[in-house]
Symmetry: C2
Subunit: 336 residues, 2 copies
DNA sequence: ACGTAGCACTCTTGTAAGCTGAGTGCTAAG
DNA sequence: CTTAGCACTCAGCTTACAAGAGTGCTACGT
């Protein structure tokens, strides 16, 4: 049996109706609402064929059909009609990256706000791996008499911490030490520094305040911080009708709370550009009812940042893809 | 009718059993589990009295009793036996503030981590109002050829943003401008700067890069940023049995997502030290089933920071208060 | 050979009725 | 003042039943 044009139309109609209604689609309803030019009985036959092809599922004997993972996949790859964004959305996304700000946290925050407000998605993001970041500068900015802000600048992160100086410390010598340290470490990746920094510092420096300094550097250089998973739009997500029942919403909340799982979900995708993973295509079983559209940003051939739009499998793929595509273009351009 | 000692014991037993079990407490169970020396019938009479006094509620005719808001209040004020913290907790809290870090975001993050892991609470925090912060320094830290990190230091906040410099900008003149600006504005509160900064900058400075600079200053000085509400431990909160039903959990998620509501909840308390607000004592109706223990930190007679432990009314008040009290002591000492 | 009408069958959902268990309130006796 | 006993109440569970939606199959028409 082969997927002729009519079967495609039926599948497409089912996916789109189901996406809109969240209710299984029956043959009669479909015949009534769509002008397919055939009766419900014919549609029933087509549906039976689509089910045999593994493109539709039946929740139970008399409940109408629901797209299977493969059905969604076929829809996304071949049946879906791409949608455009509204003019103002298009421009809004462009405008987001026109500023001169070149800092990851800021770009991520902006992008997430945009994506979260643009649809019923939960948005995930991870920034570039901190261990790949290249140290540029460590500097101390005096605040007042007794306090000083340490600032660590890498190629796409800035970190700071304000500390209290002990009375017996000469600010000038601290500044000089930092300048030396800066010189010595500049151009190294965080990954590399991680090894040598402590030795270096231990060898050349001493005194109480340097405990704080080392602590600060250590904190800044700890990978966990830089790869922090950003999450927003959980209420978009949880307000989907699939989470009407207590068990479901509970499971969903648990999934959300497990940052590591969401991180895997997002990182499961590889490569640059926009990708879709549907249901069981996701690596972990707890995400088998979800789909995710990922945006991978590369830079110099390495993975740089990654965003994800998460929703039940019954997501609006056309819209998610349009958004993702546009954000990818704009962000990729801004960064490269 | 007056609250004699036995009534107090009964109320206390009901509160504690209910806190532990989340199920309404019946007279027979109470007689069996607590050694009150009287029969269930007597307890029934006492319960009826307590209900008449407005200290107990009945969910329905045959469901056992549940403490009313006033019942909880009386329990907290007069019946509850204060508990101590475990030795290691006590020391852990102390240790948290021994470091020399004097930056609000850091202290808040540390404190929240502690509180969230210490019990089944959701933790809220707001830092000091940014508009009261006193500007210390604005400085530019060079990153590489074309980029620069702007750093703004106030007495308890540091903000930064990395921006790309236009080719035609002389980094030295930028640095000079910032130094001038710093000199002019140092010692002013953000609130005051907010008015004058734009005029000042507009009058003395010009050129494309200064748009970014002004934008950065504006962002830093926008009060919303500085008063950002920190939230953690939502899973502690949502895993409480009161949220077993879908509607409840849904409402709770919505409440959490509404940052402004949580902000009001937290800010509803006034004054320094540890306070408890129970159920309807909270200003907003959507929090009438919650209780919050707040920790208010003052500094120089002004409200500085505020933390909140949020849980269903059926919270473990003794533990929450012990934690809050200890954190308050330690933090107050560290800051003042 | 394909499309359609009709019909029997299946299965979920919603509703009503009955039962059970936990708890209360009241009364009378100790 | 306390307690035992008993009638009464009510949420929640179970069962039964009807309604509604949908399917699969068969027979018929083009």
């Amino acid at each position: 049996m082969v997927l002729d044009e009519r079967k495609g139309m039926v599948l497409r109609a089912i996916v789109e109706d189901y996406v809109a209604s969240a209710e299984p689609i029956g043959s009669r309803t479909l015949a009534r609402t769509h002008n397919l030019g055939v009766s419900s009985a014919t549609i029933r036959n087509e549906m039976a064929d689509l089910e045999a092809l593994g493109l539709l599922d039946k929740p139970h004997t008399s409940a109408g059909r629901v797209p299977s993972d493969r059905g969604y996949r076929l829809y996304v790859d071949r049946l879906m009609e791409p949608v455009g964004l509204a003019e103002h959305e298009f421009l809004q996304i462009q405008g987001l990256y026109l500023s001169r700000v070149r800092e990851m946290e800021y770009l991520i925050a902006q992008t997430m706000r945009l994506l979260t407000n643009a649809g019923d998605f939960m948005t995930l993001a991870v920034g570039p791996e901190l261990r790949r970041a290249v140290l540029m500068r460590i500097e101390a900015v005096a605040a007042d008499e007794g306090r000083m802000a340490l600032v660590l600048v890498t190629d796409y992160y800035v970190q700071h911490r304000m500390i209290e100086l002990p009375d017996d410390l000469d600010p000038e010598s601290l500044r000089r030490t930092l300048r030396d340290l800066s010189e010595r470490l500049r151009g190294l990746t965080v990954e590399k520094i991680n090894r040598s920094i402590l030795e270096l510092v231990a060898r050349e420096l001493s005194g109480r305040i340097y405990d704080e300094l080392i602590q600060f550097l250590h904190d800044c250089l700890a990978p966990s911080e830089g790869e922090r998973l950003h999450i927003s739009g959980t209420s978009n997500f949880l307000s989907q009708p699939e989470f009407r029942e207590a068990d479901r919403i509970r499971a969903a909340v648990q999934l959300i709370e497990q940052e590591s799982l969401l991180g895997d979900l997002l990182r499961g995708a590889s490569g640059a550009g926009v990708q879709v993973r549907i249901g069981q295509e996701n690596p972990m079983p707890s995400a088998r009812d979800l789909s995710i559209v990922t945006i991978g940003i590369e830079r110099g051939g390495e993975m740089f940042a990654r965003f994800g739009l998460v929703a039940p499998k019954r997501m609006d793929y056309a819209r998610a893809l349009a958004l993702a595509q546009r954000v990818w273009q704009a962000l990729d351009e801004a960064i490269n």
